[in-house]
Subunit: 327 residues, 4 copies
């Protein structure tokens, strides 16, 4: 039986990038329409997550919809850009009340875009919310503001789901929503049903978490609303192609999702600075499909028994046999 | 007015150590009585945290009490050794039910020692509770067992306080109680009033946390029951002498405690493998006293105003001026 | 007697920045002239290191010279931008011969700028020379190309000094000139007298080095041609304000320089993304001056004796007493 | 054609361990004879590296030889234990001249053991040679002593080969021979032909190196005298079972050796604290054999062409196809 697993990607996967050194960018700028047309060339992509405002020009929802349709793509989420210049010292936690309001207004606009596209969620990645130096902020107030900003939006838009994507750091030296546990603590404190976690495999690795443990925890709280994958060297959010460094832990991540009957989209959050973006997406999805096949053939009962004994060698043998014969 | 700040130390500060290379130890073995007599030589030490069972011989509570009395020392906590050989694959989370029971029984004994000494808390550091390899454990079951073990003890001993000391890893590659947020999440789930956190400054640094943020969070949940300090290079739990690497963040840590009127003991958790243990404690406490004096002279209102603006340069200038003139 | 220590800064300290999230930049763009006028406002700055080509417009050497003169600034070095878009896959190690030639030509132009300003050196920071993925490159060829590129330039311009600034990574996942020892190994292999190291304190910390050990090693090979300072959390090149995280190791760095009678400029390489750049430079230089005063009062003989015994506690007490009373 | 690749292991792989927490050890103590008999149970082990003095009792070379013979094992190297209590503050770099002499004498004895067993080399792992605190040592003198200690031994025993195994840290916070480049720099300065590197895959990963790059560099200097493998999370020397975390980079490591016609033993340096040591060795060697088969089927020309373009996606596809079908 053919797998029915669906794959997605952040549309920024198909953009070009700048950083503090290559200020002229790692390629010619692309509009969101260009990026969608590239996404359409990937062999097995069903949905994308769109930044809002749409980049590279003034495009209406309709224009974007047309581009998506001609490429057979749906929209899974909308990511309001609450991490650009005006938000450099924070969106929800900015010391300036007016900027906090701007963040709220931008996300509120994004809510309408979610409704317009029938997307699954508003994705909040408050990457500028945090601090850089010792003594810089009052931590209690900062954390309260982090929760208030998200809570108010979720409260005002009960028809929508909000996902928070945590990360330890970058671009701030410390980010407010830094770990799976910290984010769950905040979500439980806010106490609304329509806030969940977007779990990025690489952010979990970067934060010293075992991504499968993070997924299980979020699932056990009923808060795993979305996920995406990539890879890195554990010391930074490198957003490399999924499976190129940590294939075993990535397989385990999908194993954990399947064990829990978590049936969402397997998304990519990669930044192919110097690679062809279509080739980078195809390479990742090919590996994800190998994982899917490996799970089909894995002896799940034997795995459970090995885990019940905390038998690392036994469990890994089962996993290696499945994965290393599935490509 | 002289400061009334009290200082403490884990009694292991005055022991000698082994590791996987120097299996013959970094010095002649010492008994707990030897260690107490060394602790008594530190200029300003009021209390100690005692491992249980007492190391280096069969000593009664009375014998230990006598040694403490002659050195003018009280007992702040008892640390049952739930991380020795029998617990190598976990105490509360061991796959073997019999070992989990052993852990429970050992801590229960330690409860009586706490009562006997009139100590403040039972300290739980389940260092072997975790995992090493991908696929080794069922994360949901492991975490549930982590909470159950602690919860049962707290439930059975409502007259006592229990503190959980989290750490990202070592000796396991991943430790179950890994971060301040994860531990609070567990404590809140257990839902008992007599479980709190023992916040180790170095463990927070090692875990990528800002220790002051961790302290504030634990305080805001009413769960900061104890703390200790040391220093490291952020990549491992080096247990170096406090203030030798991160003096500014250590000052900020004490600033955060004072701001919240947290009035407990400032403890040391150092492992002076190659240093004289009395000298290492004196060096740390001298720095802690400098921090205390710096806080006395710091312009708290100006600090609050700088923090309200997220003004790192302004806040740091206030902190530097206070600290760098207080030694 | 007043100190005669001179201070410098990379001119980019006074620019604004972009990163992959705030693609609209952390402030209004500034030209090199704007930046020089800001640098002139710093209380004690003598020299700057200039990017080439000059940023923010078409400026002649003369226009830049005029701006420098009116701000009382000299030029210590020129940094050709061999890390922009065209060099995304490497400058000296680019797989495309034509791009390698472009790098060579740009640096050759920069040599003339060095001559024009009477600067001390051409600074080479081949940040794009390296690799991202396993299996991506032939390591032997890549390293040979790294040495050939630098060697050819030094050979063709024997009247000039070239400094290589190493860093473990960023923007590549692995950078070719990654550590002090690797760079010295390369320089010794090239075998020319006019190539040295520009030692960045933060890059050494980031690479797990002790910056003082790195400085001593480079000095012992006669290759410490320049240095700059900043601070970070050891896990990334944060380019934070010097002394805000690691004041003791920064003092030790200057101690090492003084002990060896190394008498160059103390430079800043900071990226104040969200801070006022003049204030950030002033804050750093104020700390550097405190270090200078601390060294004046430090008991150098006692320090040497403590170090001869590897007596960490004794040595640190001397250092702390000097530093923590010098602000 | 059957592979002729030979496999080896450090004999400590089959010992039990202590650490600073489980001071009663992770199992019953074993003698070197016990360990050899366990090593003999591993399916495909040809040689071992022996600690000297032999652990767990007073054994003669003959007794050890008898045990090796009955298990069909040869000796590849001897590792003198220059990292026990007496050497806590250093072997070659100890501040006490008498201790430096003890280190020299112990290694000299080990030289005779090498001769007696016809082993390939004396392995030097000066794990206590380094420092812990800022200001603790004079870095220039420490490094000179590191080179002098090794150089004198190599000079006095020109009939033998010496290998230096570098590591960034542990048990010292900074180890003197810290990286491949630093070690090569020292070896080249010493200038003797009979000193090389024992490259530990995990130490290279831990140090932020790409192990294949490290191997290539050591080979290009004619100094790769030995190697061993294991795995870790890049932040510590976890000595986990090879291939369980970084299978792709481990394959690349063997690819690099084969490309250079490096034909030594593939050794294990694992510490199975909580695993059955025979099972842990079998698991690793099974993966190593899969790598060997993968290299047999890999299209080497296509790989070279991809690498000539720095084509990460193309190169990785070749590697993944080979490895993920070879188990």
């Amino acid at each position: 039986m053919a797998s029915t697993q669906r794959f997605g990607a952040g549309i920024w996967h198909f953009a070009t990038y700048v950083d503090r050194y290559a200020t002229d960018g790692y390629g010619e700028p692309r509009s969101v329409i260009d990026a969608i047309d590239l996404a359409g060339q990937v062999r097995d992509l069903s949905v994308v997550d769109l930044n809002y405002p749409f980049f590279g020009g003034d495009f209406t929802n309709e224009q974007v919809k047309t581009a998506l349709d001609r490429n057979g793509l749906g929209v899974i989420g909308i990511t309001p850009e609450i991490y650009t210049r005006v938000f450099a010292k924070g969106a929800f936690t900015n010391p300036d009340h007016g900027v906090r309001r701007l963040a709220h207004d931008l996300v509120t606009e994004a809510c309408d875009v979610v409704r317009s596209f029938g997307a699954d969620y508003v994705k909040l990645w408050p990457g500028q919310d945090g601090w850089d130096y010792p003594f810089q902020v009052d931590y209690g107030e900062l954390w309260q503001a982090s929760m208030d900003g998200v809570g108010q939006l979720a409260d005002e838009n009960p028809d929508l789901r909000f996902v928070v994507e945590y990360k330890p750091r970058e671009p701030r030296v410390h980010m407010s929503y830094s770990s799976v546990a910290r984010t769950l603590l905040g979500i439980e404190k806010i106490g609304l049903p329509n806030i969940g976690i977007l779990l990025d495999f690489g952010h979990a690795l970067f934060g010293g978490e075992a991504p499968s443990d993070s997924a299980q925890l979020a699932i056990d709280y009923g808060r795993l609303f979305g996920m995406d994958v990539n890879d890195n060297l554990r010391g930074w959010d490198d957003d490399m192609v999924a499976g190129t460094v940590h294939p075993i832990e990535l397989l385990e991540f999908f194993y954990t999702l399947r064990k829990n009957n978590w049936e969402g989209v397997w998304q990519l959050d990669q930044f192919p600075f110097r690679e062809d973006s279509v080739e980078a997406a195809d390479a990742a999805i090919d590996f994800l499909k190998a994982c899917d096949r490996a799970l089909d053939k894995m002896d799940m009962d034997a795995m459970r028994e090995a885990q019940a004994r905390h038998d690392a060698m036994g469990a890994l043998r089962i996993a290696q046999q499945a994965l290393f014969s599935s490509y």
